[in-house]
Symmetry: C2
Subunit: 383 residues, 2 copies
């Protein structure tokens, strides 16, 4: 029988790639639900293509626009609570959690609570709420499957041994657009500079995260949640070509790596088909064109976000929620032109410094920490 999946964040970059993958795998998967924020036109197009039972539009203002475009047999749910309902419904067993930022948190938690397989493209879920989601998944039997290319690479490499035999994780980083820039140049980088990613084509928030290396900081925290490893066993390696997506060192000294083109369809498909693999639509690595793979140690001075990432991963509790919310707010301020690029990480550090960590927060406490951090950033901006 086909695996029944619902895609939360279907009109984004991961969502559309997921639809490509599911269509290429044909009989094995059936999309039964699609959920998006504002992009009602694209969402209606997707609904025409995959014919889901349920469609969710999170922005109520667009409900009347999409309704006439949907098939009679398709149910329309409206508002963020529609996403939560879709995530928890019994008619799907696999949820692709691809809503960027803390916005995707509640629906991801709903999927975990329902004990489903959850493909996590939304790395913020584990950053914000790892301290709550990971124990919850153990209780409900939910399986967390990484869709991030790095974490998929770690997960795939881990299949070559037992989890207890892993002694180190090498998280590779492209180094982003400012890998070779001086601190002085970086301080004055424009939005346009920050959006020019060397290897991956991604949404703007993630691309800016790559420029500050906040993405790697978030991934350190995510890796800790997903793989239950000691923070000190996670090592960031700068690898500008983004061909080795990450590596694992086993206790016997063997290092296993996953390599591929920078095509998100590979990790998406692996999350869907794990533990099996199928022929899919992702592009192939042509090894005759790979001439050289470079590696560098990360520069913690130019990229202080990395240091913060380790600290937050060690602290746990509500620290991740504050870290993530402060980052999201600072990025918006940078995009709006109210702060310089060089100010982003400093702002996050200031807010983190003022936060009183709750070691075992529930979802409400996490959402409150998120709100608090956003307000704190706003305060800093005014002062």
């Amino acid at each position: 029988m086909a695996k029944r999946i619902a895609i939360l964040g279907s009109t984004g970059s991961i969502g559309t790639s997921t639809i490509d993958v599911v269509r290429s795998l044909k009989k094995e998967f059936k999309v039964v639900g699609l959920g998006a924020g504002r992009r009602w036109k694209e969402l209606a197009e997707q609904a025409k293509l995959v014919r889901p039972a349920t469609v969710v539009i999170a922005d109520p203002a667009n409900a009347d626009k999409i309704r006439p475009l949907l098939n009679n047999s398709t149910e329309l749910l409206v508002g963020p609570e529609g996403l939560v309902e879709l995530a928890g419904r019994k008619d799907s067993s696999f949820i692709v959690a691809a809503i960027v930022g803390a916005a995707g948190l509640e629906s991801t938690v709903a999927a975990v609570r329902a004990g489903k397989q959850v493909g996590l493209a939304n790395k913020e879920a584990l950053v914000v709420a790892g301290s709550m989601i990971v124990p919850l998944s153990r209780k409900t039997g939910a399986q967390l499957l990484p869709i991030d290319s790095e974490h998929s690479a770690i997960f795939q490499s881990m299949q070559a041994g037992r989890t207890s035999e892993v002694c180190k994780i090498y998280l590779t980083a492209s180094g982003g657009p400012f890998r070779t820039w001086t601190a002085k140049q970086m301080a004055k980088a424009t939005l346009e500079d920050a959006l020019r990613h060397p290897t991956w084509s991604m949404g703007p928030k993630i691309t800016i995260d790559s420029a500050t290396m906040m993405n790697k900081a978030l991934e350190i925290i995510e890796a800790k949640g997903l793989f239950d490893v000691d923070v000190d066993s996670i090592e960031v390696v700068v690898h500008p070509e983004s061909i080795i997506h990450s590596m694992v060192e086993f206790c016997d000294g063997s290092v296993i790596a996953q390599l591929g083109t920078p095509d998100m369809r590979t990790p998406i498909q692996y999350a869907l088909t794990h533990p099996q693999r199928c022929v899919g639509c992702a592009s192939r690595l042509d090894f005759s064109t790979v001439r050289r793979l470079n590696f560098e140690e990360p520069d913690f001075d130019r990229f202080p976000a990395l240091r913060l990432g380790y600290e937050v991963a060690r602290t746990g509790g509500s620290a991740g929620a504050v870290f993530n919310a402060a980052n999201e707010t600072a990025i918006k301020a940078f995009q709006a032109g109210s702060i310089t690029f060089g100010r982003i990480v400093g702002l996050i550090e200031e807010v983190l410094g003022r936060h009183k960590v709750d070691p075992k927060p529930d979802l409400d406490a996490l959402l409150e920490a998120d709100r608090w951090a956003r307000q704190e950033v706003a305060k800093c901006l005014k002062s």
Copy 2:
């Protein structure tokens, strides 16, 4: 209970490393048998160290020298037939087949016939007799475990998916000491030049094989036997640093690689402990010192052995026995100074061209093909 192993070729480079590994793993393994060719002093030292029940000295001339050095409770077997007996005895379940060249063939076959786990460091066994050993192993339930670093890397990488999901094997090659030499320079290379391997420290025969790239040719044939893959799905990639030991591409496009230092203790240990991994004594890769990994396409003009390797792998049957025997004889002639380096592969090709392939040879037919090829090389040298 400890796994009981016998090491055939215990005084060679793989044999001594195996003893290191077993000693570092302590309780999990017990060496119950040691077998070597001529080196009676080293063999006696090893026997003192690991206290095996049985010791074999293949060269009868040295039996009287080693006997007084052995413990009273240690049984001494003499002659090549002693190796065969040790390989087949019920008191061991794991045989490390580490006798270089066709000399190790009969004892390896005996281990396979006895349905044991066989760690294959002797790549010639599968090159010479793959067409017979592989079906035999299926019948007796013997498990063939690679000890070659490349094949161990392939085997380890294959653990990240199912065998049926593998679509390509990337066999990495250091390129040997003549990677950057012109054909003209190579033709005149001295024995000393050929013995100067850039990354691996190995015995002389294997090091010369690396200079002609016959080692890769043999490994193509070995990979076909071990992993039951189509010859055309095996691709040789020159990778001078020898850090990536080989790779596997799965049907979904993911490439999984095994990386490590050039330390044979890693593949030896993996063969012993598979499917588990243990902390051992092998040296670790320090990724902060890995700056750059290079890749090149192999040059089939300067290294015609590669082309021959593919041909022999496709042909199967007795071709591998002739290929290997002609190579061993040509190398001896080169070591003796009777032929130039540039003549080695040409000689092998001539002899192969005169061989009438037996598609389904038994062990006697293979040993006969081996003898025939050695005589043919000798004939070529006289004429």
